[in-house]
């Protein structure tokens, strides 16, 4: 819980650093703040689990692992913002401060023990993301993405709040433990309000993690937002959202598994099919990544539907593998698109941007290949073990094998569009001339690729 306090203070400190003439200190300062918060996250590792702030927040090793993933991906994404601040006439300090504040929201979502904290966490994270999405102020696409994200996000929050109000009406408490107690003791006379409330809260949360049929905003928002913040959204918001759904379902509603598993199963199948099939038809790499993030939400939901003892480990590993691969994919895109947008303003983010990358910069090509293989779930990468653990939970549940078959078919479809990128990189001829990559980018990309391969070779490392 120390990390929440520290991040809030650091956010204010970074805002004040913005008063200085030199903007160069901001990025290292923000990275340092996130690194300190990452270390502070593990302070209570040995005396977990614990409740903090009058039973408002909960902390155990699972929530700490989720927070660690969020902070690690935030560190990598923030390291990629180098150069972003240069073309921005406005104050970069504000963006860094908003990033730090949004992390507070994410950690609150991961470790809530009271629905008030869930609401506050979701809102802190979402409101920060609305601002960051629209941070490219002169660009109409960025504006449009911000408005769409804002309207859809606020709409989803409204639905979630109505659900929370109904849960309160049924149980008389916002506390997860009390709700669990209500569900346990009144298992034969559960109020209808509770069922409706649970469904509405789930709909609100599924909106945030962009599961079908609530995904329609995702491609537009991911496409329009500046690429750094697309990476931020698709890693941090998703990890925190799934941690929150897991916490809600396992913390309070395990007793009525028979009620919600079918709804979740239907949404999972729809998400997997819609995400993967639509991704095949995309021309723009960013839109393809948006649909691929929808399909990855499907795999994570698959494990939530199974809800066995192995589910938390599977979700943690999968989120980590997914975040690392996504950050490096977007990092390569930024390095390539920046070079390209200097020459022409058209289609800097299409697949063609990667044509001939294998010759222009072998390092970038290798990083992109590893991240695509990891997202597709090919062995020797972290993504393979992520999928393996997820499918393992389904097998453990037993009666959901039909879902496993759909998921495996869909990951075969996934291989098609991920390999399209790899083929463009190595087989197609594009521009020639070496591509220069800033040293900071190179470090981030090497770190995330190394981690992906390391967890792919030794998945036991994380436990």
């Amino acid at each position: 819980m120390l990390s929440i306090i520290l991040l809030s203070i650091f956010g204010i400190v970074v805002l004040f650093l913005g008063f200085q003439k030199s903007k160069n200190i901001l990025l290292p300062a923000t990275l340092l703040c996130i690194a300190i918060a990452f270390a502070a996250n593990f302070v209570h590792w040995n005396d977990a689990p614990g409740l903090y702030f009058k039973e408002m927040l909960f902390e155990n090793r699972l929530t700490m692992s989720f927070s660690a993933i969020v902070l690690l991906s935030a560190f990598l994404v923030v390291a990629l913002t180098r150069g972003f601040a240069d073309d921005e006439a406005a104050q970069p300090a504000e963006y860094y401060a908003i990033i730090l504040f949004s992390l507070v929201g994410a950690i609150m979502m991961i470790g809530f023990d009271n629905l008030i904290m869930l609401f506050l966490g979701v809102e802190i994270l979402s409101v920060s993301m609305y601002v960051l999405t629209g941070s490219d102020k002169r660009n109409l696409r960025s504006n449009e993405a911000a408005l769409k994200y804002f309207l859809m996000g606020a709409f989803a929050t409204g639905i979630m709040l109505f659900g929370i109000a109904l849960l309160y009406g049924a149980t008389g408490s916002f506390n997860l433990t009390d709700i669990r107690g209500y569900v346990g003791t009144n298992s034969f006379s559960i109020s209808t309000l509770l069922y409706v409330g649970l469904l509405l809260v789930l709909i609100g949360m599924l909106f945030k993690v962009s599961a079908a049929p609530f995904h329609f905003w995702t491609p537009d928002v991911y496409d329009g937002a500046p690429t750094v913040f697309t990476a931020f959204m698709s890693t941090i918001v998703k990890t925190a959202g799934f941690a929150a759904i897991y916490r809600l379902l396992s913390g309070s509603f395990e007793g009525i598994y028979n009620f919600w598993w079918f709804t979740l199963a239907a949404i999972t199948i729809l998400t997997l099919v819609v995400g993967n099939i639509t991704a095949v038809y995309q021309q723009s790499f960013k839109r393809m990544m948006a649909y691929s993030s929808i399909s990855h939400a499907g795999y994570l939901l698959l494990s939530l539907t199974a809800m066995t003892a192995q589910t938390p480990d599977a979700i943690v590993f999968y989120s980590l593998a997914y975040s690392l691969a996504t950050v490096s994919a977007f990092g390569v895109l930024m390095a390539v698109a920046r070079e390209k947008s200097v020459q022409s303003h058209e289609n800097a983010e299409d697949f063609e941007a990667f044509n001939g990358l294998g010759k222009r910069n072998p390092l970038l090509a290798f990083v992109l290949t590893v991240s695509m293989l990891s997202l597709a779930g090919i062995p020797l990468t972290a993504g393979f073990w992520g999928k393996f653990f997820i499918f393992g939970t389904i097998v453990e549940r037993g009666n959901l094998i039909w879902m496993l078959i759909v998921a495996i078919l869909m990951s075969a479809v996934g291989i098609y569009y991920y390999f399209k990128v790899i083929i463009a990189t190595y087989m197609k001829d594009g521009e020639t001339g070496a591509l220069r990559v800033p040293p900071f980018y190179r470090i981030v990309l090497i770190v995330s690729t190394t981690l992906t391969l390391l967890f792919g070779l030794i998945p036991k490392l994380l436990s």
């Binding site: 606020a154 929050t157 916002f174």
Partner: protein, 114 residues
């Protein structure tokens, strides 16, 4: 279907049954949803969202007084504070769009299509 009324709450509150509050706020909430889905003007969509949030506030206050439990009313304060922050950000986004495109009709915004 509904929880028992706590004995300590004043008679005045019980004059209107809890069910009525539930139906009223559900009606307001549905009006809000329909507004979000059908209106074209960003400000009106925005107002519909506020209507949804206020329906929630009403419901929370009703549940809270029928249970004589203050937690629900505390939550209402949180919702109001957060909704105010959201309004600030949302109106800023709308102003930004108006500056660039001289319109706040959400149908005008169709740059992001494949």
């Amino acid at each position: 279907m509904f929880p028992q009324v706590a004995p300590s709450i004043p008679q005045v509150i019980q004059l209107i049954p809890l069910n009525n509050y539930l139906w009223l706020s559900t009606a307001l909430f549905v009006i809000g949803i329909v507004g979000v889905l059908t209106r074209r003007n960003a400000i009106v969509v925005f107002m519909s969202i506020e209507l949804m949030l206020n329906a929630v506030n009403l419901l929370l206050v009703a549940f809270s007084s029928y249970r004589s439990d203050p937690t629900g009313q505390v939550f209402v304060f949180f919702i109001m504070a957060v909704a105010a922050a959201e309004v600030a950000v949302g109106l800023a986004i709308i102003v930004m769009i108006y500056r660039n495109s001289r319109s706040i009709d959400i149908g005008f915004l169709n740059k992001l299509k494949f």
